[in-house]
Symmetry: D2
Subunit: 318 residues, 4 copies
Amino acid sequence: MTTTFRGVIPPVVTPLTAERELDRASFKRSIDRLIDAGVNGLFFLGSSGEVAFSTDERRREIIEAAIEFVAGRVPVLVGCIDTETDRVIEHAKVAKELGADAIVATAPFYALGGLPEIENHFRLIHEAVDLPLFAYDIPVCVHVKLPGDLLVRLGLDGVLAGVKDSSNDDVAFRFLVDDNNKAGHPLTLLTGQEVVVDGAYMAGADGSVPGLGNVECTGYVRMWQACEAGDWATVRAEQDKLAALMRIVTVTSGVSGFGAGVGAFKTAMALLGVFDTNQMPNPVQALQGENVEAVAAVLRECGLEPVRTPEEVTNSTH
Amino acid sequence: MTTTFRGVIPPVVTPLTAERELDRASFKRSIDRLIDAGVNGLFFLGSSGEVAFSTDERRREIIEAAIEFVAGRVPVLVGCIDTETDRVIEHAKVAKELGADAIVATAPFYALGGLPEIENHFRLIHEAVDLPLFAYDIPVCVHVKLPGDLLVRLGLDGVLAGVKDSSNDDVAFRFLVDDNNKAGHPLTLLTGQEVVVDGAYMAGADGSVPGLGNVECTGYVRMWQACEAGDWATVRAEQDKLAALMRIVTVTSGVSGFGAGVGAFKTAMALLGVFDTNQMPNPVQALQGENVEAVAAVLRECGLEPVRTPEEVTNSTH
Amino acid sequence: MTTTFRGVIPPVVTPLTAERELDRASFKRSIDRLIDAGVNGLFFLGSSGEVAFSTDERRREIIEAAIEFVAGRVPVLVGCIDTETDRVIEHAKVAKELGADAIVATAPFYALGGLPEIENHFRLIHEAVDLPLFAYDIPVCVHVKLPGDLLVRLGLDGVLAGVKDSSNDDVAFRFLVDDNNKAGHPLTLLTGQEVVVDGAYMAGADGSVPGLGNVECTGYVRMWQACEAGDWATVRAEQDKLAALMRIVTVTSGVSGFGAGVGAFKTAMALLGVFDTNQMPNPVQALQGENVEAVAAVLRECGLEPVRTPEEVTNSTH
Amino acid sequence: MTTTFRGVIPPVVTPLTAERELDRASFKRSIDRLIDAGVNGLFFLGSSGEVAFSTDERRREIIEAAIEFVAGRVPVLVGCIDTETDRVIEHAKVAKELGADAIVATAPFYALGGLPEIENHFRLIHEAVDLPLFAYDIPVCVHVKLPGDLLVRLGLDGVLAGVKDSSNDDVAFRFLVDDNNKAGHPLTLLTGQEVVVDGAYMAGADGSVPGLGNVECTGYVRMWQACEAGDWATVRAEQDKLAALMRIVTVTSGVSGFGAGVGAFKTAMALLGVFDTNQMPNPVQALQGENVEAVAAVLRECGLEPVRTPEEVTNSTH
């Protein structure tokens, strides 16, 4: 059953109108484009999907639109990200009620705890909501690294269906893959990387969740197909092209974190005509002016011709 | 106006029944006990008040009960703690609607950002909700330290009324006090420490928010009165006694973080008969057995005689 | 015996000539000035004494000059700071041979280890060199915090004579003081702070090691005498004045860390005529131009009139 | 010229006698074994080579023996690792005098600094010692990550010949490879990983510096040859086998850091008869008893039959 979630499963970026409402038209356009590119699933309300910025009402709105627009074409994973267990379970129940195929949760954060709390957290979520549960390992946000032995144990116990690994700890990921294989592969292991997916595939990952896939997904699909075929030269060539494109997140200045990363994704998508604006959720500012131009320049270098000017995108949030 | 919030303002711990419902009777008992001890205000839904563990419904329930039980005797501050701006504003609107006198918010967390996002965050909250706003500086949970110059600037601009400092960075706190004084004292500066309140008072703090005050508040009130009177020998003597009592959070084993800290506070309060149980929110386990005995031993050493046995408290969560 | 090291024991800053040789004349001037101010001891080759920048030959040169210039007037502590045990022991043997009264060592650093390695490290140093040994707790450099129970145990075993606490963790320091008192006070506990020495004295510190004392030591001596007399109002008043002076380390721009901290101390001492230059060891640049002017302005505000112009100091390193 | 240092260049582990003297016979045996396996160079006095534990005299002893035993068969790189610039330059001069072909230095550590200090540090080393200089990027020890743009700039300026990357930040490494290629490949880029070398090769690394190569180097040589031939299936297969062997560093208990990592390497080499003992430098304890048995079990699973019993190895340090 867990193999349902193999392959390329992008974390879908959430388009906003200038007034910071959900932009349903852009959302539908982006989802159709991703499915047309051949993705194996879609992950909504991940970190890139601005889950942390979204009120309960906005989260519900996003899930409903996602289920409507995907229309059963691929599996839908929904991020149920919040500080502690009871709040996560609330989100998970909503996700299930609205039709999610799987849920994704991090370890608890904000309050300090230890491994017993983390284990109990995942067990309680699993008991409360009968859907495949993925652990989301993202220490840069949660400030804890999920240990491989805990993950495999929770896999063997039927608590976890898989792991979305955004730890940028490729050594730990390789050991996790090996431990999971020795245990009979209870977990589906997805890497959340963008520019080192090739290494994760060499290590034995079951798929990837690349934020950059929102901008250009056909390359990630080709890379996965090449991986499945054992064609490593193609894996490498595709990765090189995508790594060049990922420079959209490093060519800007004066911005950082989510504003630089997802900000660049949204800006690229607005330049390419997928999104109507590059608006960001409060308290983050959208990229503007020279930063938009810098993103446009990278797109062009990578052979993706913008259909809108940097000025148009800069003005899209006003 | 900001002087309304000077003095001892404990972060009120939230009592739960064995079934993890809000224990209203214990809550009222604890609030009355704190007000009788002479506190200058009460802070609900802080980190110790298990805000991160509380669903929206639970938060509302706690605020309503707090307003009812306090009944205007002291100012009520309410923690509006959540990942990003829009979610915090939702909580702040509820707090205002239910009658809070001030709100307390951290910097954004989970998503990565920088100082521009932090500044914008506080400005947006202030624009959205017309209540005195305290910045809650707690790097151990939020993973960022609020810079003193930003805080004073937001104070001068009328955005912030004060700061609740739980940074355990006493050097930065002293510089903040000095900068605030030079700027005309726009901010009320409260220390969130328990065992080094004396040093914060020497530095010029306007008050304290001691979690340990839930267990024993008369000492903190005496310390503050001595501080106001310039009687530093008494400040020191009271602090020494309270530091000895604070050992309830270090004598346990096999627990950590919130479970060790607030777990010990709740256990002490259950031993003293203030709380009916020492139940903890999911996914945290209540202290049990030898850990409860260890807390009881510290209480006795400090002259606080338990009215219930460790066994009774251990059994209170079942 | 350990009481020999109570009181104010500044970490002596090392003056350099423009060519980065040891400036013996300035060194003697500074040492005499500190002893005249009434210090209880002097600590050479601490972090502020640029131990990490000093070759073995330079370390020997500094110790020899220190012993010669101090001439038995106060106890001399020598920092034997290096990555791992055998290297520290080499330094300690030299320090003893040259006449040090006590040695100061951090936990091992660079290589990763755990508590067993730290404990073994201090035991091996103590076995190898028969001098009072102080543990130097400075997590910002060593990246580990020394646990209080380990320190007290090593004190009871006669391994450690004391602790120089530069952890900026005042909560841990207060618990350490209490644990040490309960154990019969085996350790002399010195705080390495500058602006929160008052809090450390309230907590029960046995003295202080303030880097700022190089610039102005009479205030620290008065603060200690007031502490011994229980005159907390004077402790507080002196601390306030010294905190204002400490702003020399925050008014500069474009510099950080050692260059900003010790750089400001040296610049102030050059402005005050104690040092001939404000030269810094490789690879650090001396403060120049507007940064020197900013330090001079703070000195004047604090009533310390420079005897040299900022231009003269800026030119002193060329 | 920098291409001299391409390929597999293991960081050579330093064998000790039971009395912690340099074990020259084991050292020669290990060096011959590595060269026979087909390495492209040898790196002495790296982190694995216990540089941080070695006094100046020991360092000299190791370099002299290394030069003697290598006898010009492969290039010799020497780690000149120390806290700050002048100390590093001293080591570098000794290395040059004794015949090293290249030197390897980290950023400064212990004292706090910033990028200007790091850049100046490498420039000063390069000016002082005319040998190819590699920057050693190892944040886990040095607590700073070297930025890619700084490295490439120092490469273009002729300051750096290459980088030994032990940052475990594969995203940054890929961007570094790309930036280096765009700049005309001024730097030779070596990965310090053991179990994700395949990913680094996919990214375009010029070689590897695997500590595990001390235990089994023929696999790393085959992996490099396959990489050069574009035979990625073999790269992957070899990496999988080496990842399985790397479990020697995770199967032990009660040890951590250097003691667990290099401790396991030395223990494996003692079990395989390459080293006479598994002795560790002060203050680290050698692996013993069940930990030695656990390492032996992994060796056997990987087809490397021990020639000595765990008991013999445990007794080798007494």
